[in-house]
Amino acid sequence: MGPWERLPQLFAYGLVSGSVITLGAIGLSLTHSILRFANFAHGDLMTAGAYIALGFLLVFQRIPALRGHFGRLSFGPAMIPAFLLALLGTGILAIAIDRLVYRRLRRARPVMLLMLSVGVAFVLRNLILFSAGADPYYYSHRIQRAIHILGVRLKVDQVFIIALGFVLVVLLHLFLTRTRIGKAMRAMADNPELAQVTGIDTERVIAWTWGIGAALAAAGGILSGIENKLITPQLGWQALLPLFAAVVLGGIGSPYGAMAGGMLIGITQELSTAFISTAYKPAVAFGILVLMLILRPQGLFGRR
């Protein structure tokens, strides 16, 4: 099959990896819009989420009623509480890190916070390495046969990833536009000084931002573990480059831009494999990042 005939199939794969990138990119964009620094530890929050889910999964799989699989999916009922607890746990972890580390330097320059986040990233990754070891894990070794939909072949897991990514993005949209805290998050992204003068409890908004961003990162990490059948301490760190590319592509600080940017990066990376080696996927993300920074630093949908 020539490269052009493979494009629909690769586009479908792009939707899958785009969903994972989007979930990670949203949190990166949210924390950037409110705290004004690039959080290099965000990828490691994805890793933390993947490992926390793994831990809970091993516990819940001991309960006979939760064993087995959902239809042709690679996971079963035990994954549901494991997934939810991992989102919660990663959210709490991020808020705790903020209280312990970032909060002391609220008024520091962005580059100081960026360096600090690199340190946090190392600590997180090595804590995971220390407690879980360097060997890779997987949520399941179930072999899945692909199904045919709309002319492309996808595993049921992959269809699930696209669907769940979509649902989480819609939920986030409703949160940002319908709830008091969500609106305050958008207000703070617009103008933090005015938010304070208005009487908005900025520390509470910051805590929610970390919690939501980290929970979505955890979801991305878990879905990445399901898709790649591989969980390693490097999972999130390796994903960081496409995350940044997605955030810059969509316009730094705009969660909606991050959603579009995540899908575009995922799709472009997969489509590129029709013409160049798969090994160049990171180079494609990096290329988009550099091009955007030169040609349109405000992003595709950026205002300024």
Partner: protein, 234 residues
């Protein structure tokens, strides 16, 4: 007892003292305007009263309570709101969302409070779903004032509400300010459009170089020859 009493305030930015011992007061339900040349310390006074700057000496009393050094979000809860001169709206939020942010700390149902602001500024009701970033300067100023009024404050601090507005909008904003006063809110304004501001003011102060040079009723200041020559453009 005055609603707001500022006593011998010294304040400024870092080592630079801008206010060298200012005393003013605002009574319930009156409009008080501070005029004076650029750099006289008018905006610095508002920021100091609202807790954005810490005074090095002197005290601020609000409703008889010493509020010197309280942070802005506590002062808001006591019933004083502040509208900054620039960047005083959330541009990517709708009109209604901007107003809701004004009542963030109230938690409860804001419907009645929104209704009151919409009665004061009917044009905002028509545009409540519109993003504020796309609105004109005059409408933004109404959104900014409306957001402060959601808290139902007893005192509103306005920092140059007509700066950079077209002349017909200036008149419109001053009309809104009078309507706000008539609804029972005291207002302390810092203003460049000195003449128009004094015309609607109960009292006024003239600041020069961080000192209080003149004070009197709006009419007295407008009639005063020296004030007129020096600060009202003849």
């Amino acid at each position: 007892m005055p609603l707001l009493e500022v006593r011998d305030i010294r304040s400024g930015y870092g080592d630079m003292e801008v206010l060298h011992g200012i005393s003013i007061h605002v009574d319930s339900g009156e409009i008080v305007t501070i005029i004076g040349p650029n750099g006289a310390g008018k905006s610095t006074l508002l920021k100091t009263v609202f807790g954005l700057l810490k005074p090095t000496a002197g005290r601020v009393f609000f409703q008889g309570q010493d509020i010197t050094g309280l942070p802005p979000h506590r002062i808001v809860q006591l019933g004083m709101c502040y509208v900054p001169q620039v960047d005083n709206v959330f541009p990517s939020l709708t009109v209604q969302e901007n107003l809701e942010m004004g009542g963030f700390i109230l938690r409860g149902d804001l419907r009645e409070r929104l209704e009151r602001v919409y009665r004061l500024f009917p044009v905002l009701r028509e545009r409540r779903r519109q993003r504020v970033g796309k609105m004109s300067g005059g409408e933004r100023q109404m959104v900014a004032m409306g957001r402060a009024l959601i808290m139902d404050p007893s005192l509103l601090l306005l920092d140059e509400p007509t700066a950079a507005l077209a002349p017909n909008l200036v008149t419109q904003v001053f009309e809104s300010i009078q309507r706000i006063r008539d609804s029972g809110v005291a207002i302390l304004i810092v203003e460049q459009n000195a003449r128009q501001a004094l015309e609607i003011s109960d009292r006024g102060y003239v600041f020069v170089d961080g000192m209080n040079r003149y004070q009197g009723s709006g009419r007295e200041l407008l009639a005063d020859e020296e004030v007129g020559r020096l600060f009202l453009g003849g």
